[in-house]
């Protein structure tokens, strides 16, 4: 348990999506016209308003002490941001659909005889194609946000953890091989089966392994270790020979929207989702890294999920 008298930094993070939309208004205005810019401004406004409401509801009363478990804090943060982003994503989807439809209608009109032979037509067609492409890109993002927010109750079954990891390792191995990255297995031979949610664990493993390969980039290794941890748990360690995680990033890597990838390459939701899943299964995921020695992610899972329920 940690005493957190104030956590002002955490009040800033939720506003990031709104700020991003706000920032997008300027280039949108320049490139696509004032109407787009106004739209973006309106969205940013909606986002901030929703958020204020949400955060106010969570505001502690005066004089109330905040004694929070790190995991609980993380879970609440994820839940709040999940709700907000789902709301915003949903709101954005409708205008997006209209924009796309109108652009397509304009494409159809441009094909009529009326416009035949006009030299600007080709340029207009290009612009419309670009608009539709960008709408589709935005739709992909909103879909991701909606997926992120959807809560899934774990379904518990017997899981042979080594087999599950091997399946996911093979999937990643194809891509890794092309980059001369070896996947090294160090599986404990007699690992007890665990009682957990297989598909959700696959999602976690695939994310972690994919991140590890991404971190190495080229020529290196990703080592997967499984081992029993006491009588009640198993541990999965994924170590990569990449550059490691900067000390200032380490405390934030499980935060939603935190990403070190270049813009457009990651939503910053992957690790946050993994964190949520593992916690819900009664486990714990941690990251460790030392400069120049790569990074290690450790996933600790109870033999029986649901024995403890953090962040309820």
């Amino acid at each position: 348990m940690t005493l957190r008298p104030s956590f002002s930094a955490h009040r800033v993070y939720p506003y990031i999506p709104a700020l991003l939309i706000l920032a997008a208004a300027v280039p949108l205005g320049l490139k696509c016209g004032a109407l787009w810019a106004l739209g973006a401004l309106a969205l940013a406004g909606i986002s901030v308003l929703t958020l204020c409401g949400l955060l106010r509801r969570q505001e502690p009363g005066p004089g109330q002490d905040w004694l929070l478990d790190e995991g609980l804090l993380q879970a609440q943060k994820v839940a709040a941001i999940g709700q907000l982003s789902a709301g915003v994503a949903h709101e954005i989807n409708n205008p997006l659909a209209i924009i796309r439809q109108e652009a397509q209608w304009m494409q159809t009109l441009l094909q009529t005889d009326h416009f035949h032979g006009l030299e600007e037509v080709k340029e207009l067609q290009d612009s419309l194609r670009e608009i539709i492409q960008q709408v589709d890109r935005t739709k992909e993002i909103t879909h991701n946000l909606l997926d992120f927010a959807r809560k899934r109750q774990p379904v518990l079954q017997t899981v042979a953890i080594n087999k599950l990891i091997e399946d996911m390792a093979r999937l990643v191995e194809n891509e890794a091989r092309r980059k001369q990255i070896r996947i090294i297995r160090q599986f404990a031979p007699e690992l007890p089966p665990i009682f957990s949610d297989a598909p959700q664990l696959r999602q976690v493993l695939l994310n972690i392994l994919n991140n590890a390969v991404y971190a190495v980039r080229k020529d290196g290794a990703v080592t997967i270790t499984t081992r029993p941890a006491g009588q009640e748990a198993v541990e999965i360690l994924v170590h990569d020979t990449g550059p490691g995680i900067a000390p200032e990033d380490l405390p934030r890597i499980f935060d939603p929207f935190f990403t070190t990838k270049p813009p457009g390459q990651g939503t910053g939701l992957g690790l946050s989702i993994c964190h949520g899943i593992v916690e819900k299964l009664g486990g714990r995921i941690t990251a460790a890294s030392q400069a120049g020695q790569g990074a290690t992610f450790t996933i600790r899972l109870p033999l029986k999920a649901g024995q403890k329920t953090p962040g309820k």
Binding site: D147, Q157, D167, L171, V172, E175, A198, P199, R202, N207
Partner: protein, 129 residues
Amino acid sequence: MDNFKVMVVDDEQDFLETIIKRLKARKIEVAGAESGQRALDLLASQDFDVMILDVKMPGMDGIETLREVKKRKPLTEVIMLTGHASVESGIQGMQLGAFDYVMKPVALDELLEKMRQAYERKLIQEGKG
């Protein structure tokens, strides 16, 4: 005895016919669909326990089909099958609620085992609901 109902979705006719034949030989009730749209049509008229879904298909691809299936019949368990392992679409598939993401070729016995586990999961969820 496996008494679950399976739909296999794949645009490759040869693959589809063979896997249906082999599953029927194992006494499994199975139907085939050669496109995502066809799969959704079939799903509208009857329920399936497990769906084997190819990732790469012309028109509506596997991911898009999965998204629709999970919207319309969320309890249907979907095992994604892929020819070219793409980690990106694997993550997307799992995130959308697929049961598993399996690379082709896969031994029928292994696929059957996964189908049994997927069906078990469906039974557990139905018991809950």
